[in-house]
């Protein structure tokens, strides 16, 4: 039973984690992209469409990432090159993504998808309890963890990460030092788009192999919240995504067991648990402020 619950938690948490890690990097560069939901849903429709057309879920996943990047470029162009308001542009990106994905996906409604196969290593995957959990996931689950490692290492241990953080903390100084603020931010936004696209593709190719309009059902917003929850620390994002997934799955089990709590209260629990933990871990305000990118959401115009 525990193994079954954990397996379900992994699928529930992975799309959130993928999108959150992407947005974390975007925000670390000082850009607030509220369009995660729009990029995710574009990733979902592209992932599904490519999978169905080519018959290959791998290509589908790739297609999801590409779609995410393409949509994020619109946002990057509008906010970085044209210096439009980031909040408004991000919201517009979400609306745009939801609409466009519905249009693209129209002919794919009602078609069964092809599911991304899980890994199978003879011997290892058959191990009791840990086998399926550790060695029997699909490739995106491993990728989500690899990206957490990668992002964590990049931000803290590389020169590139240092530049990105500098751009996010004080873009004027970074610019004065000769770093390409806009270029760095473009790359960060594209990375965020790719990860959100992967998260969306995970929904339509691995989680529930189907396409219907608006199928991400608000997960982009949860990913956005997780970034703040994680106070911009990659490992905390893992914790947040899995906490949220665990409580979501557990409340279904609680209902099925007939615990007798009102279901509305149980549906609320994942959010409640996340807020409670957020309050608990942000007790150290100095540390939280230290991690917050100081230029977050502020527009940057070079020669001013």
């Amino acid at each position: 039973m525990l193994e079954a619950i954990l397996l379900t938690v992994v699928t529930a948490a992975t799309p959130l984690l993928l999108a959150a890690i992407g947005e974390l990097v975007v925000e670390k560069s000082g850009v607030l992209n509220l369009g995660v939901e729009g990029m995710m849903v574009m990733g979902a429709v592209a992932g599904f469409a490519v999978t169905i057309t080519t018959g290959s879920p791998f290509l589908g996943v790739l297609g999801g990432a590409v779609a995410g990047v393409l949509v994020s470029l619109i946002f990057a162009f509008v906010t970085l090159t044209l210096v439009a308001n980031q909040v408004a542009s991000g919201l517009a990106l979400t609306l745009f993504g939801l609409g466009l994905s519905g249009l693209i996906g129209e002919s794919f409604v009602g078609q069964p998808g092809i599911k991304l196969q899980s890994l199978y290593i003879p011997g290892l995957t058959d191990l009791p309890f840990v086998g399926k959990l550790l060695f029997g996931q699909d490739i995106l689950v491993y990728l989500s963890f690899a990206s957490v490692f990668g992002v964590s290492w990049f931000l803290n241990r590389t020169r590139g990460g240092l530049i990105l953080r500098a751009v996010g903390d004080n873009h004027a100084s970074a610019h004065a030092l000769g770093y390409p603020v806009i270029g760095v931010r473009y790359l960060a936004v594209m990375f965020g788009g790719a990860m959100a696209g992967l998260g969306g593709a995970y929904m339509s190719v691995a989680y529930t192999p189907l396409w219907v309009e608006n199928m991400t059902a608000g997960r982009g917003w949860i990913a956005l919240a997780l970034v703040v929850f994680a106070s911009w620390l990659p490992w905390r994002a893992v914790f947040g995504a899995y906490l949220f997934g665990t409580v979501t799955v557990l409340q279904f089990h609680a209902q099925a067991l007939g615990i007798g709590f009102p279901s509305q209260f149980l549906s609320m629990l994942p959010y409640l648990a996340t807020i409670v933990v957020l309050v608990a871990i942000s007790g150290n305000r100095r540390a939280t402020l230290f991690n917050t990118p100081a230029s977050l959401g502020k527009p940057f115009v070079p020669d001013r």
């Binding site: 619950i5 989680y207 219907v212 799955v249 099925a256």
Partner: protein, 356 residues
């Protein structure tokens, strides 16, 4: 976001109006207002299939128009009014939440005919229509009781409204008619539509021992989980057999086509009047997808029950005892429609508490 969708919808209505303005005046224009996208492969999708059936059946005698993604509530009024002004002969409001807006517009345009789905307010030029989905759910209950090896079904539900409660009760009455000890585990996902949550709920129910899944939510996610696990389930709103060729035993399909054709034909003939129709399997509005993936005698039983319902028998025929052991309907008494439409109690054997 919803506002924008409405704006888009209104703009679409404009566009349609502009196109149809050139059409011949002797054609009847029939118009539909949907609350969801027609791409939901569920509720609004099935209504749109009904619209297409009208086009197919009545050919060049009619032209049709629709607006999707219309927000329920006062905002819908503009869409109805636009349709009324544009010369629609009959307007169908397909969702419960359009009721007051549609009624208001109906009173303003006495010459235009209106029909509203699943509501209870009417006018001399506004009729009501609904479908007796519970008839199908009774059959699902019987199938589940015959086919489950554990006498336990998992039931995924959206919101505690009478329509859903009625469905759970009909399902249990059907199951108990085969096995009085049949049990059901109920999980509320508090959403009509969230494939991810529906899949998680299905997994939780299977993990807790259910081997058949029933759903009153819109997506195919739950039945796909059943397929993956080699277990069984039922489709909802649409025939989902493509998604679960080995798992779907049958599906309750909303087939609004027959009613829409009848209503539009009546307008053409000049015989339309504001009616209150609640049609079921007999009329073809509720359609059972092919019985598959079950034992032959289960299939035979399902077909017999279906024939009995077509013959006029109502699954809500007493004796019916509620959860607390109180007899609600004595032997032979049929629950009146009004009771069904306001149902807020469980029948005996349902192990769940209704939020009051």
């Amino acid at each position: 976001m919803k506002k924008l969708a409405l704006l888009a919808g209104t703009a679409l209505a404009f566009a349609i109006g502009a196109v149809s303005g050139a059409a011949a005046a002797d054609k009847l224009k029939a118009c539909w207002v949907y609350t969801g996208p027609i791409g939901d492969f569920g509720y609004s999708y099935q209504h749109d299939q009904g619209r297409l059936a009208v086009e197919k059946a009545l050919g060049d005698k009619v032209e049709t128009a629709y607006v999707e993604n219309v927000t329920e509530g006062p905002d819908a009024e503009r869409v109805f009014e636009r349709f009324a002004r544009e010369g629609c002969g009959i307007v169908f409001g397909t969702s419960f939440g359009f009721m007051d807006a549609e009624l208001k517009v109906a009173k303003k345009f006495p010459d235009v005919k209106f029909e509203h789905a699943t509501g209870y307010k009417s006018a001399p030029n506004m009729g009501l229509y609904n479908a007796r989905f519970y008839e199908g759910r009774y059959i699902l209950g019987q199938i589940a009781a015959k086919e489950s090896k554990k006498a336990l079904a998992g039931y995924i539900v959206s919101f505690p409204i009478p329509e859903v409660v009625m469905g759970i009760n009909a399902f249990m009455l059907g199951a108990q008619s085969i096995n009085p000890d049949f049990k059901v585990k109920i999980v509320w996902v508090n959403s009509w539509f969230d494939p991810g949550k529906e899949a998680d709920a299905a997994k939780a129910l299977f993990d807790q021992g259910a081997d058949i899944i029933v759903q009153h939510t819109d997506s195919t996610a739950a039945i796909q989980v059943a397929e993956e696990r080699g277990l069984k389930g039922f489709g909802q709103s649409s025939d989902m057999i493509k998604f679960a060729p080995k798992a779907q035993m049958t599906a309750i399909v909303d087939d609004w086509g027959p009613h829409y054709i009848k209503a539009v034909q009546a307008v053409l003939d000049g015989t339309w009047k504001a009616d209150d129709v609640w049609e079921g399997i007999k009329d073809g509005t509720v359609h059972m997808a092919e019985y598959a993936n079950m034992a032959d005698d289960t299939k035979k039983l399902a077909e017999e029950t279906q024939a009995k319902i077509v013959g006029g028998w109502n699954p809500f025929t007493g004796p019916i005892v509620d959860q607390d052991g109180k007899e609600r309907y004595a032997a032979g008494v049929v629950a009146p429609d009004g009771d069904l439409l306001g149902m807020n109690w469980y029948v005996k054997g349902v192990d769940d508490k209704l939020p009051q």
